[in-house]
Symmetry: none
Subunit: 413 residues, 2 copies
Amino acid sequence: MRVVTLSIGDELLDGRGVDTHGAWFSLELVRHGCDHVEHRVVADEVDTIRDAMSALLSRGDLLVMTGGLGPTPDDLTRDALASILEVELEEDSEARGPLESRLSKSGRPLGPGNLRQIMRPKGTSFLANENGTAPGIIARVSGASVVLLPGPPREMCAMFDRHVVPLLEGDPRERATIRSFGLSESEAGERLGDLARRDSEPVVCFKVSDSVVQADVLGAGAAGVARRIEELWSPYAFGDELDTLPGVVGALLHERSFDVAVSESCTGGLLGGALTGVSGSSDFFRGGFLTYSNALKSSLLGVPDALFETVGAVSREVALLMALETARRLGTTYALSTTGIAGPSGGTEDKPVGTVWIGLCDTSGPQPVVVARRFCFSGDREQVRDRTVKASLQMLRHRMLDIEVPLLWEIGS
Amino acid sequence: MRVVTLSIGDELLDGRGVDTHGAWFSLELVRHGCDHVEHRVVADEVDTIRDAMSALLSRGDLLVMTGGLGPTPDDLTRDALASILEVELEEDSEARGPLESRLSKSGRPLGPGNLRQIMRPKGTSFLANENGTAPGIIARVSGASVVLLPGPPREMCAMFDRHVVPLLEGDPRERATIRSFGLSESEAGERLGDLARRDSEPVVCFKVSDSVVQADVLGAGAAGVARRIEELWSPYAFGDELDTLPGVVGALLHERSFDVAVSESCTGGLLGGALTGVSGSSDFFRGGFLTYSNALKSSLLGVPDALFETVGAVSREVALLMALETARRLGTTYALSTTGIAGPSGGTEDKPVGTVWIGLCDTSGPQPVVVARRFCFSGDREQVRDRTVKASLQMLRHRMLDIEVPLLWEIGS
């Protein structure tokens, strides 16, 4: 099946936004065994959209379009479809009720912009959108199918799965993904050797996203190759496409009926935020302390003031005490602590920006064990904090699996 | 100047690679005051490339193409250019020497593939590539300029700066952005009225990203129109393109020498994480309590156990007590608290998923004032938590500015 795709939006062409849909469509279409023939990005203009639709329809059996279905006057995709079909827009009598009830849940009236969203070209049908106010539209144009989806990725992706995937006719190719943290991209590549040759089947592709190194395997035998990659990347590999580090750590805690608490300085809550991002986290996450100021490190966790003057707040001693006191005061199996210099200011020669101590207290044995490890993360403030969260979670995962290995960015203490 | 762009490569359409050039071109072109009219992605096929070139040339004064100039047989971009010009490929006599010396530096001989790379359509010219073996090509086709650049970003970007930027004719356009939170997209649009008409100059475009509604104004007089939008969106507008809610709240706290602490249940640390994302947040953020379990709400903040049985943890009473006790125990000017049902499970008829109470304690006056407001956020777990963080910050901003208005998703208590 030949599929063509079209992203619509001024902001995708004038530098304000980034069209991520083209690449996303490519992955989904190949997964379902379809041929992605062409992708275009055009502006919010009726004639331009209509011309692009005509040209693309001559090249494919299915045209998937995204963007320009919002409530504002610059959302013109439905007008372009009406123009190509040479019909008028009409209100869909069945769409008004659900939209009104959706809006009323959040106390909003139906405005004139929303009224535009329940208009569709005569003879076409709406596609339900469970994550937003703009329904999609499906139509037949000169022997091909056309599907219009809203632009926001969360809405678009869910609707693609529900409404477009059933239309796809192709032999799905086998796929598998392995995700890892704590290994550099180049070492991850070297560990794969010949597996990563581009002319082999299945194809193995790399991606690094938010410090997670991922291998996507595509083609016959993908699952077996993925298992081999998981071994080669052990113990840094933590799961497949659907896995996140907090999710994997949460599942391990839950299996063992263990729990965890945190005390956070440089991450300021992001570690707790990551753990509670897992649905059902009340099973294994209790809470903790945000001790961003030194005063709170003292008053909430009993870190002696003298330590700040001698070794400083970013030190093994403070990380150890934070983790130990958190586990002790809250009575959890594990406690994680973070203290570091996220930047951009605050670095010194001894403790440059990116220096972070992570503490881990383990009370699962007969005696509490507490360790602290030093990292020097590269990147900006956001990256340093995100990497701190992920390194903490990988440390806890390794602790539960009884694994001791250094992580990327870790430096001798 | 109207510019059209074209990325070429099978791997960009079959999920192996990601076309990043479209977004990169958009940014560069708007920066130089040019109009980026359309971007396309097509496969490595001579006829397909040639047809795309013809169509794009009818829409622009300059066509910039990238990809398909490598040494392998599937690199067909130069053949497509020859086809459209109706000329043969010929070897460029001056290109052989530099290529041979470049290859010999890395101990490689001139292979048959490389010989293809020194071929160009008769009557066209090569553009030097300092970072790779594939030279670019420049040609005139039916009154427009066509530039072919290699696909690897490192080579392409450097060659764009050197060879394409001097061709760009444009007046960099004035730009301004206004960002808001707490107003629905449709109400934001309605408040603008005629300002959002598409035929007016400057152009006003909307974007909603992570629940922040943003207007981008582009063209002569953008700054003035942006100020007008800020008034129309008052008091929900919080800043410009560079502003974030935590940043704006942090700046207000810093100006007044005030500080804030948090106690988080359903957000699990994300509110502290957002506030400490601001560089220099130690000026105004002290820390707080992650009281995800009811046991910690009692032991760390003194919330009476009886309340969990009578009104429940997600209640006005608990939100009020959490905020009050946090401010009292940590001695900060303000304290924010969150308690809610982020989902996907845990909802009831009275308290559906998305129900969140946000507490705010203000000790800046002679007596502490504490309020709690109820929301029913739409969206999944991640969105409910993100919206809780943003609503908390907008509540604190409004409190400091002495403004009382309801926010989107707020429901009568």
